[in-house]
Amino acid sequence: MKEARRVEFIFEMLRIVVALAVAYLLTLLFIAFISKDPIEAIYVFSIGPFTTARRFGQLMAKFIPYMMTGLSMCLIYACNRFNLIAEGSYLMGGCLFSVVAVNFIPETMPPVLAVGLGLVVGALAGLIVSAIPTILREKLGVSEIVTSVMFNYGFLYVSLFLIKFFARDISMSYVCSRLIPENAKLGAVVPRTLFHSGIYIVAVVVMLVCLIYFKTPFGYRVRISGSNQDFARTEGIRITGSLIVAQLLAGAISGMGGAIDIMGVYDRYIWDQTPGVGTDGLLVAVLARKNPALVPIAAFLLAYMRTGAAILNYATDIPLEMVQMVQGIIILMIGAEEFLGPIKNRMIFRLAQKKDRQKEALADVNTK
């Protein structure tokens, strides 16, 4: 049995690596065809994010929110729900933080307090947003896929309304908030880059979520309920409560992620479309195989590819859309559980055969 498990593990890893490699190679192939200067383009795409401090800062600025929404989707995924509200939570987290920051945070407030308040506002906003599809689902059985997608769209307009009426900078020609006060911003870790100190907050959140997930009765309850509800119920676990709390927590993490992003990267709130970071969280969670401890790696990979694509877009003649196709390929390959499955089964079969033969040989020796 031990071998069977090892083979399963190796193939699990292999599947992800091969999926990424295939997607990456396809991208390179595409570049080679499309671009007039393919060697330059490939270089920009693969090494680009690490060439200058500014570009690396861009990568880190994506990495930070991806971790938050990735953790959020991990929790929802563990509940075995397809609740996509992380997007709405992320958006409203950023929006409500901005409204509060431009209206209620005086310039004299100590930065620690201002940032702390911002995080709380973001988390609360995310939590409340997530409560809608979560409670509809767990209490009334309404499909969370439909409600979360619908409300994600609805909340985009709620956010635009809030900004227009309570935070709009009328001196600007487009819809955006007034400037976020300096004391409510997260400072840069590397000066004059987008790599901001939100990374420390996220690191703490990753650790906390891992602890909750693996080390508390609540984490066990969520995982058991998500894995097999009938079983959880039989063992006396209060499923509804556990699943609601987990999804609210997920919303709060996403919302906090939105606030952190605004605090670290932007001077003012400017999202007039859903930023997509919440939905990308699903991708991160799938890459991380529901394991919050693997979220940083998955988030980094995604941030790296996205940054490479963005640089490609402005530094060469290759369109951004191409990279979105690559993502499709990755999701397809990682989501396809049977990818490489036949080879895996054949290997397990051979191992069992070998074991049988060994057993027989041993029996022969014993009888002699």
Binding site: I224, N228, D230, A232, T234, G236
Partner: protein, 516 residues
């Protein structure tokens, strides 16, 4: 010798978890032969037949039907080759009639409209020709289990089957119904149909079959001619030693009542009264068994006591407290443990580790925590000691439960439920479909726990051997009611029990004595 219709040669099946279900199995079937495929639970009989019926793939060997090598990739292929299978769990539409079920997928038509008359005529003709005694116009809902089984046979016959596979057909039948089935199977044989009959009941095999193939741990240990062997010889091939059926135990010394069930009534989703005014009690130090043909309310009794479903009236008192209105958590805290009949659905979370599965009912206990967080050392040593105690064959406690064999999965379930500190164990089909060793461990533990006053047991089981040997007191259920009580289960005669289970006999209140 008559014509050979089927040959399975060197069949090997290894599941993707590495479990070898069949190893180089050879089997030959002739026209008009009844071949018994015997072996203990988990010997690979059903797997072999599922391969033949196209429900499972196989890695080695080949299959010949009527002398030509065939590839059977799906049940449709099998049906086209004239192979039919009657599963343990019937696949029928309960609200439709017999004729509709039998002709489902091969409907007779008049133009493009379903020809009801023709369907009934064909079905009735088949039923009459083989004397199966099923009425084509009856609804499946109204039929007994035995009749529903006949419908499955009809379904196969309507598809011109020449090879009929029956997977433990007598498991759900009473002795009388079994006799009837055997007569009908012999009729089928006379008309040239070949039958493969899966069983682990030796007296049935001796009575019915022409030849026997014995499987043990996925391998053929003997191909025998029935008239030349005796049951003892077969049994040695099946289990490698003579089957020891009896469990030795002292007489129980019952003390105070632990569980009282009074006037319990429960209607199921279809609004059928499946538990009808049931009252009984369980005392400290005894094992109470409930026998009955499956589907007569035993399973519902177990689910009512555990709180999975709520009674319509009546009360359940566990350790002095009524369980009405309590959540499952609270009922468990009163001292209840539950082994479910469907372990993959109610007994484990297959994708999670052994550790998580064992911890599932004790998440809130303070002894595993330091502050808010679990203490890994304490949890690990707790789980490891249970793995050792119950001899769960695994790599370590982080192994996902789905990678274990059926018997070991059930060991995970009992390791949790037996160590929960409960003083009442509701064991619902605790040894169904698992190996002899594990079954013995479970049965002996249930008896031991009752004798040392640790926990009493309510045992629901379709395995007559088990229910008669493990129980002290035996109740029989029929149509949701308790129809008989025996004070000493080990002294009960199987055939007499069958008559109560079938509803031919029924004890009066005086004969039953005090149930509480």
């Amino acid at each position: 010798m008559s014509k050979e219709v089927l040959r399975m040669d060197g069949i090997t099946k290894i599941y993707s978890n590495g479990f070898t279900a069949n190893h180089d199995v050879n089997l030959v079937l002739h026209e008009g032969e009844i071949l018994a495929l015997v072996g203990e639970n988990g010997a690979g009989k059903t797997t072999l037949m599922k391969i033949l019926f196209g429900m499972e793939s196989h890695q080695g060997g080949h299959i010949e039907v009527n002398g030509t090598t065939v590839k059977i990739n799906s049940p449709l292929d099998a049906i086209a080759l004239g192979i039919g299978m009657v599963h343990q769990h019937f696949m029928q539409v309960p609200s439709a009639t017999v004729a509709e079920n039998v002709t489902l997928g091969i409907e007779p038509r008049q133009g493009s409209v379903y020809d009801k008359k023709e369907a009934i005529k064909r079905t009735q003709e088949l039923s009459d020709r083989y004397q199966l005694m099923v009425k084509a116009t009856d609804r499946i809902n109204d039929l007994s289990v035995a009749q529903r089984q006949k419908v499955e046979i009809l379904k196969a016959l309507a598809r011109n089957c020449r090879i009929l596979i029956l997977d433990e057909p007598t498991a759900v039948l009473t002795p009388q119904e079994t006799e009837e089935l055997f007569v009908q199977l012999k009729n089928l044989k006379e008309s040239g149909i070949s039958i493969i009959f899966i069983s682990h009941k030796l007296h049935e095999v001796m009575q019915l079959s022409d030849n026997i193939v014995v499987l043990r741990a996925g391998k053929v240990t003997g191909t025998l001619v029935t008239k030349d062997v005796n049951p003892a010889q077969i049994s040695r091939l099946m289990v490698g030693r003579d089957v020891v059926m009896s469990i030795e135990k002292d007489d129980p010394k019952p003390e105070d009542t632990i569980l009282q069930v009074r006037n319990l009534v429960y209607y199921n989703d279809e609004n059928v009264k499946v538990v009808d005014n049931v009252s009984f009690g369980i005392r400290k130090g005894e094992v109470v068994g409930i026998a009955g043909v499956e589907g007569n309310g035993q399973n519902e009794i177990a689910e009512l006591i555990t709180g999975l479903v709520k009674a319509d009236s009546g009360e359940i008192i566990l350790n002095g407290k009524s369980t009405a209105g309590l959540e499952i958590r609270d009922i468990r805290d009163l001292g209840l443990a539950y082994i479910s009949e469907d372990r993959m659905r109610y007994g484990v979370a297959a994708n999670l580790s052994i550790r998580e599965n064992i911890m599932a009912d004790r998440l809130d206990r303070k002894e595993f925590r330091t502050g808010f967080l679990y203490n890994s050392k304490k949890i690990n040593s707790h789980v490891d000691s249970l793995i050792r105690e119950f001899e769960i064959a695994c790599d370590d406690q982080t192994q996902p439960v789905r990678m274990l064999s059926g018997g070991n999965i059930q060991k995970v379930v009992v390791a949790r439920e037996f160590s929960s500190g409960a003083n009442l164990i509701v064991a619902n089909q605790p040894t169904r479909g698992i190996d002899v060793g594990t079954s013995e461990l479970i049965r002996k533990t249930l008896v031991r726990k009752s004798r040392n006053k640790e926990a009493s047991t309510l045992l629901v089981s379709s395995d007559l051997n088990e229910i008669l040997e493990v129980s002290d007191r035996l109740l029989v259920m029929k149509n949701g009611q308790i129809v008989a009580q025996f004070a000493k289960a080990q002294a009960v005669d199987e055939f007499e029990l069958g008559e109560y289970m079938l509803g031919i006999k029924r004890m009066t209140a005086e004969e039953m004595g005090d149930l509480l």
